[in-house]
Amino acid sequence: MGLVRFENVGLRYGSGPEVLHDIDLVLDPGSYHFLLGPSGAGKSSLLSLLYLARRPTRGMVSMFERDVTAAPRESLPELRRRIGVVFQDYHLLDHLTAFDNVALPLQVAGVPAQRIRNDVMELLAWVGLGDKVDVAPPFMSGGEKQRVAVARAVIGQPDLLLADEPTGNLDEAMAERLMRLFEQLNRMGTTLFIATHDTSLPRRFAHPVLRLDNGHLMAGG
């Protein structure tokens, strides 16, 4: 059984039309996939199912060998802690500093304060934000926010890392560094699933490509 398994999954918002159709997807532990597709193809909707913000309107979704299609709400936080997400628009909390934003996953998991401090400082230094620890997102550039978002996504050493256009706001050097980090995490066993419209990424990093077109998922680039 895969780390993630979708069987015949469909998703619609309210009573609107279906935006994802008959999705079958298996992500094995330690795999690395790129998801390509034009804007409006349903990439964000598929990601929202993967990070458990939504439930499918039909079909079956299994995460970490648990059927989450109709799992009780109380069981989801534990699963979400095993998933890191880098959003295209960051989803940072503007009233918190970079330190507190990155610390958030550890804070909600009840990790001891000293370990939080050590891990967060180390990771912020690694992403080149050691001097921005006490700076809040509104006072950061787009690239700096993106790095805070990446740090928050990986601080909890997730089993599954999802990213939506992770290099979109980074300069070339930082984008390269970020992709190398993803490679490193993948070698350490983290499963990666990266949604992007940058077709150069799959060419530079040889990993399987999935294409989403008009709500239909297919293999190949």
């Binding site: 913000a53 979400r80 909600v108 304060a113 939080i116 401090r117 006490d134």
Partner: protein, 291 residues
């Protein structure tokens, strides 16, 4: 940065929509303190009246009785089991009692007034009243025993009704406070929907989110409740002092006992506890509807 210095994960303190809440909670605590004081003063007064009239009563000897008859009545009274003492009320005391109605220049001898006899009992319920009335009737016809029940019962009923009304007002105040906190919490949940979504995405449980609202509700309740209780205490002290200067023996003593002051002091904590519980239940109930 020390973690205990960090901002709340949901920035509720910056919400302009909750700035009115301390004023409302403060007003509720102020009103609760006053209503509670009324209820406690009434209860204390009823207890005192009942205690006083359970160990003393008044016997009215008709004006037609001469001094020898009065002595016989007194002797009969002192011989009744349970009676500690029986003594006629002095003319001077009667004149003082009647002065507010018929003035100071009073010639008691010119009025056909009954002679009043104060009777003190050994203990509440130590007397067989019917037997005593029967005995006194044989000593002096027309004699009347007033044990206070005739006027005490309606007063007690009225005071009891006032206490019930006080209780209802307190319930209304609590209900209004709960509605205020529910409204505040729902507004906060709507305003900070995106922040809460991020917290959920990083693995926060609903109880973690509820904790943020609970702390906020606790702070707001104390921020309003403590001044409300202090203001109420000040008012009660002033009312007590003003009432202390009144020459109105039938009025209950308008001062709180130690228990009453403790109750007033605890009111902000009760308001905070109600606010915290309401905020928690509101958050959990609202978030339960999410995927």
């Amino acid at each position: 940065m020390a973690l205990w210095l960090r901002n709340g994960d949901v920035p509720l303190a910056s919400d302009s929509s909750t700035r009115f809440v301390p004023w409302i909670i403060g007003t509720m605590v102020f009103l609760s303190a006053l209503v509670l004081a009324v209820a406690l003063v009434l209860e204390s007064a009823i207890d005192r009246w009942q205690l006083a009239h359970s160990v003393q009563l008044t016997v009215e000897v008709p004006p037609s009785a001469d001094s020898a008859a009065l002595e016989r009545v007194l002797a009969a009274l002192r011989g009744v089991p349970g009676v500690v003492d029986a003594a006629p009320v002095s003319d001077q005391h009667i004149a003082q009692l009647l002065a507010p109605w018929i003035g100071d220049d009073l010639e008691l001898a010119s009025l056909p007034l009954p002679t009043l006899v104060d009777v003190r009992l050994a203990a509440p319920g130590a007397l067989d009243l019917a037997a005593m009335e029967s005995l006194l009737g044989t000593v002096q016809p027309g004699i009347r025993v007033d044990d206070g029940r005739r006027w005490l019962e309606p007063v007690r009923a009225t005071a009891g009704a006032l206490q019930v009304v006080s209780g209802l007002v307190l319930l209304l105040i609590v209900a209004a406070s709960i509605v205020t906190v529910i409204f505040m919490t729902r507004t906060g949940l709507a305003v900070h929907r995106d922040t809460i979504a991020v917290l959920h995405q990083v693995g926060a449980r609903d109880s973690f989110v509820a904790g943020q609202f609970q702390r906020h509700a606790f702070r707001l309740a104390l921020w309003g409740g403590v001044p409300g209780a202090l203001l109420a205490a000040l008012c009660l002290v002033v009312i007590g002092r003003l009432a202390g200067g009144l020459d109105a023996p039938l009025l209950p003593e308008l001062a709180l006992g130690t228990g009453g002051w403790i109750a007033v002091a605890v009111l902000p904590l009760i308001a905070a506890a109600i606010s915290v519980a309401t905020a928690r239940l509101t958050v959990l109930a609202t978030l339960a509807g999410l995927p």
